[in-house]
Amino acid sequence: MMSVEAYFLMAAAIALAVSVLFLRRETRRSFNEERHASEGDASVLFSWDQLTSELSARIFDREDSDFVARESSGQIARSFRMERAGLALDWLLQVRKHVNLLMRAHLRSARGNPGLKPSGELRLGFEFLLFQVTCGIFYLVIWLVGPLHAAALVGYSLKLAGQLRKMTEDILPDGTQVAVELLENKSQAKNGTAAF
């Protein structure tokens, strides 16, 4: 019985806290409404170009770190790694900020759009949440083990995921493949080149 009561208290407390938080947030937002509008539109035009990709990839590359380790003392190498970790975390926050602005611009447009599809919004919201969770995990991993080990860990995870997918494809019958084979047989039969 008490667990139900605790549930009610928790729900009420959350509602109360959300009200207060929202009050603060809304006030801040109404002050910056115009600024957000211009930033939001700019974020939509933001592109993840080649140069940005290369520079970002450099943060997680071993090359610089190995060079510093080879050419300088251990203390300098350690301080370099710390600087790199800080840089990587800042970069991650910047990417996240851009995506937040993009989403804010989308929501600003969607809220006034009579053609809004709730299912589309939920899907988009889920993808946004997934991005935020990914960013959070990356942030934690970089903060804990540094950008170089984080890159190795991500690379290993992706490789493992790829292998698992390949294994699954090998074990399970591939519906698409069967369908394609059936279609091919059908067209061959039409052209009179069927095996039978």
Binding site: E26, S109, E121, E127
Partner: protein, 252 residues
């Protein structure tokens, strides 16, 4: 003595709110809210003599009047939704899809209880019945607030005041009705005053935010408003996936 003072203070504040609304011609903007307030004022004023002259009848009279107030409270939530989202058809559409789900979710518990106990309605205890109805209100308010926050809906001060005041009152009522029986003797003597004090606090919030009516700010300027939703959503999704890929490509 304290209870009577709080009672009179509540009556005074409710009257002030209604007089200000009539003076400022605000009634037409929040019809249901002021009707709710007027009902509460009439209830409080009429229950006062009952309390002192026929205390044995007071309990029944109070609960039956209170159910009317709870029902009208749902109307206040509906009015908040209508007024806040009148200029945002997209967000209003989302609310029309999300709020019924929350309503069904919250009321299903009441129906489940009623189904299991044939004597449940009007309540194994009246407190429990009121609490269950307040939980429905709370779920709807929570859904609305979350939606307003997600879509960053700009709210006028008066609407914000109505919504937060009402949310605080509903939340405190749920806590009050839930934990009333679980307190030790040391705190129990304070318990009857918590809800009236909270109500006075909420009335003060309403007095502060509804003292003068702000005219609507036409700030909704968006260059992408005319874009159809499908292309808007797919463009955002494309950008989101690009960001996701960018992240992995850089770190790998």
């Amino acid at each position: 003595m304290v209870a009577t003072t709080l009672w009179l203070l509540g009556l005074a504040l409710e009257s002030v709110l209604l007089v200000r609304a009539i003076q400022g011609n605000v009634l037409k903007h929040y019809r249901i809210f002021y009707l709710y307030l007027a009902c509460v004022l009439v209830r409080d004023a009429s229950l006062m003599p009952v309390y002192y002259l026929w205390p044995q009848v007071y309990r029944y009279a109070y609960w039956y009047c209170d159910f009317l107030a709870v029902a009208m409270g749902c109307g206040v939530v509906w009015e908040v939704y209508k007024v806040a989202l009148s200029r945002y058809p997209g967000a209003a559409r989302m609310a029309r899809n999300v709020l019924p789900f929350l309503f069904i979710f919250a009321t299903s518990r009441i129906f489940a209880k009623a189904w299991n106990s044939p004597n449940w309605i009007p309540g194994s205890t009246t407190l429990e019945t009121e609490r269950d109805l307040r939980v429905v209100q709370m779920a709807l308010l929570f859904g609305l607030i979350a939606l307003f926050a997600y879509y960053a809906i700009p709210l006028r001060r008066d609407l914000k005041g109505i919504m937060y005041g009402f949310s605080i009152y509903v939340a405190i009522t749920v806590i009050h009705l839930t934990f009333g029986n679980y307190l030790g003797e040391s705190v129990r003597y304070l318990w009857p005053y918590i809800l009236p004090v909270a109500y006075i606090f909420v009335l003060l919030i309403w007095c502060w935010t509804l003292w003068s009516y702000e005219t609507a700010q036409e700030t909704e300027v968006s260059s992408r408003l005319e874009v159809d939703y499908q292309s808007l959503a797919s463009a955002t999704r494309r950008q989101l996936r690009a960001a996701h890929n960018y992240l992995f490509k850089a770190i790998r």
